[in-house]
Symmetry: C2
Subunit: 90 residues, 2 copies
Amino acid sequence: MSAYRFAVNVLPKDGILDPQGRAVEGSLGHLGVEGVSGVRVGRRVELTIEADNEGDARTIVERLASELFSNPLIESFAIEWVDIHAGAGR
Amino acid sequence: MSAYRFAVNVLPKDGILDPQGRAVEGSLGHLGVEGVSGVRVGRRVELTIEADNEGDARTIVERLASELFSNPLIESFAIEWVDIHAGAGR
């Protein structure tokens, strides 16, 4: 068994209303920041999976991403591999 | 002026209680999933910044990450560059 660490990035799909993103854009004026657009706010889930091989680990993370971490009607997700030895400060 | 797209990943700092992560771990048994640990749930913010150069854009995104997107007492953030031409499906 080996340990594999992944991150799942979940964002509202294009065309889906993103009220948190609009709220961020609305607050930029108060900060005196200009030139910012296209703000999308989503989730990031990091997790470690113990599995026999990377393929088995990916099968599990894909299932969790689609069934538990995201709502496929309104959100899309992307899975990235995280270097388990580079976690300092995270 | 050029457009630069970034993602800001915000996660609870090590040692800080992460109730959402615990909730995910608690629900894994119901899904029949084993071998998952170290779940951390945070935010991901993607945004486009118009600036004269990449350095100016990075200065803005770092300010937003520390002042608006994260609480530096309990959260850490990492900034990544996003390929603005590879956004299909996101």
